[in-house]
Subunit: 422 residues, 2 copies
């Protein structure tokens, strides 16, 4: 009988594992996801700022995997795990497995202040991105409508919290949106007067990067007209204002549009795994995995991507970024195939190919280990890496054209206010 | 002082009026819409079936009108009218006008059975289209998941109510989606066995067209694998089933996905206009207008598009279609400019350029008055007319590429289940 492999999560980790297992006729693979599509999260900020449509960065999982006859896709939610009986509980039904690969990802984390989520949405799902887009564009509409100058000023101020890649990308794109794309579209205020404020708790942007690139990123944002305040710790977020501490002093800024790019925490599935297997979770709720990504005492359960705490090279856990998840997904598939042959492929090793963050329409910073770049050349590399992925992965050549179009016309055509209040 | 013109509604009628009034420095024009974008409604069925993304068929009103310095755009909702004082009440604020142009459109009408809306969503807004898309794709996902054969059969049956252009387009595209695009993507059932049932109350499809084209449309749909039942009057829509009367017999069909393409009624603004001006409304809630589109006794109020009942050529009211709204919008602008010069441009006259309805991936029917076409040639005309409009209007060249891509790959890339339940 075929070995039953169940994969939970169709993000980078789960999908790469599935693709590598596709076609192996001795394996019967089931990919379970709550959503029916894979999301290219690194471009989610483009949806949030009206540059791309959701369909441009999402691919139906069935369509991506249909060529592999040994893979089924199931849209379902996982609600429980019985590790002893090797059974996964779904909202309607259950799945038996021989091997379980869990790559359920992460979600925004508000440092215990979940009530902030309402005022400062995070960016993890399509719905998050559309909610951000709705808030950003609605602020401009309200600024055009109001007759109260103080309210208008607060509507024309955007606060981005968190100076990691997401925060930097959002702040840069917002500044460009206001100062370029929307030029000439309003009659009662000038969008080029819009302020974008990026608050970072640490002493520099993009903490994992070399500090020379942090400086470049800061200068890049300032050139676009965004203001960067490092060493700023948010104390309170309320409708219309943000309170933060900087250099020991309390600061207050009025703003109706606050975007969260700061913390992330593991999917609640981590807790379900821990309850069933007794495995240790770290402070962020991530599952502490062995050197082969397995759960202690359960070599048939592998956890990877943002949900996994992997720290076997003495350097603390690997960051929750796409390249880690992709490499772990491929490794999990390799491990499984090796085990079936009675072999041992050794521990997982992460190959750091570098880091990229985009700052604006044609600026980015890149740290490739052996070379550091910024400005236009780094942006070209960023563009090439992302487009190459989208095309290889799902033939999304359309996005390339859309992008070129946006670039040359400075248009952001997907500037729709939809959903709530609509 | 400049003449204050207020336009309500950024659909075809309102937007064409605004564009024609753009640049006339003696006019101060304000376009009010609840939404921040113009929607190309004739392609909404493509969003509902995953072929296009919302951004492909919507254009931000500000961006379309930004070159006209005499036009302001206001995202706001109209809640009242004081015709005697020439004042329009908004949710926040009010607008004084010298001339008021109202083109607020229409919405789905359930013949007094509003409770059907929950079971059988209509197709008028982006949200409607995304809700249809969610239901259609979720039905396939549930069919893959269920182990109950009866439930699966009901999930694999789609019922479209109404044999007008919207119903025909939906039924044809659904049949293609199931029988072509989704081929090979499911493991527990064969999507090519999906049934699409189109119910029409009258004795033929596309009632306003010549009956030879109705026959062609029917044959086109049947070729795609859809079933057409004319003379079918819906009696009840409940979760999981539709009851209808046909040839005096009651029929019941089990289906979890029922789409409404039947009746339309005027925007509730019709009632607001009637209360303030005493104008007559027709049975569909439309404002009965004079030969120059004005409201009786209020020549400064013009009503046009789907909201207007115009019947001055002895042929009953004009249909609620885009060409009527466009021509009335242009006429309203011409009328205003003529009045300012003390001239009279005469009554509005509709020039019927023909009717088009698409049946599937490369079939359509066209009635251009002097010529009737069907099949591939009609589809080419349909494609040309729509693409030409989108490009002329907002430079949406991207849609052309997207379309060509979908056509040749048979892909529908925007097949995302988003929103509710997500």
């Amino acid at each position: 009988m075929a070995e039953r492999v169940v994969i939970v999560g169709g993000g980078f980790g789960g999908l790469y594992a599935a693709q590598k297992l596709g076609g192996a006729s001795s394996l019967e693979v089931t990919l379970v996801d709550r959503r029916n599509f894979h999301l290219f999260q690194p471009l989610l900020y483009q949806v949030a700022t009206g540059g791309l449509s959701p369909g441009d960065i999402a691919s139906p999982l069935r369509s991506v995997l249909k060529k592999y006859r040994n893979i089924s896709v199931l849209q379902a939610e996982v609600v429980g795990l019985h590790a002893a009986e090797r059974r996964l509980e779904l909202t309607d039904g259950a799945l038996q497995y021989d091997t379980l690969i869990i790559a359920a990802g992460s979600q925004p984390y508000y440092f215990g202040r979940d009530e902030w989520a309402e005022q400062a949405p995070g960016l993890k799902s399509i719905e998050d991105a559309l909610e951000m887009r709705r808030r950003i564009l609605s602020a401009f509409e309200r600024a055009e409508r109001t007759t109260d100058e103080c309210e208008r000023r607060a509507l024309m101020r955007f606060v981005v919290i968190g100076g990691g890649p997401t925060g930097v990308e959002l702040a840069g794109t917002l500044a460009e949106l206001a100062h370029n794309s929307l030029k000439g579209e309003f009659r009662h205020f000038d969008p080029s007067a819009v302020e974008v404020l990026l608050l970072e708790g640490g002493d520099r942007l993009l903490p994992p990067y070399p500090s020379s690139l942090s400086d470049r990123a800061r200068r890049g944002l300032e050139k676009l007209g965004a203001e960067v305040q490092t060493g700023s710790r948010v104390k309170e977020i309320e409708e219309g204002r943000v309170v933060y501490e900087r250099d020991g002093r309390e600061e207050v800024t009025e703003s109706y549009t606050v975007l969260w790019g700061a913390g992330m925490q593991a999917s609640p599935l981590g807790k379900i795994i821990a309850e069933s297997t007794g495995v240790e979770l770290d402070r962020g709720g991530r599952v502490v995995v062995e050197s082969d990504l397995s759960v202690a005492g359960h070599r048939e359960i592998l956890v990877l991507g943002d949900l996994a705490h992997f720290a076997h090279q003495g350097e603390g856990p690997l960051p929750g970024i796409a390249p880690v998840a992709m490499q772990q997904g491929r490794y999990a598939a390799r491990l499984l195939k090796a085990r079936l042959k009675g072999k041992d492929p050794g521990a997982f090793r992460y190959l750091d190919k570098g880091n990229l963050a985009v700052i604006g329409r044609h600026a980015a910073v890149a740290d490739m280990g052996f070379i550091r770049m910024w400005g236009f050349p780094a942006w070209l590399i960023w563009l090439f890496v992302h487009i190459a992925y989208l095309i290889e992965f799902d033939n999304k050549v359309m996005v390339l054209f859309q992008w070129a179009w946006n670039y040359f016309t400075r248009k952001r055509g997907a500037r729709l206010i939809t959903g709530r209040d609509a």
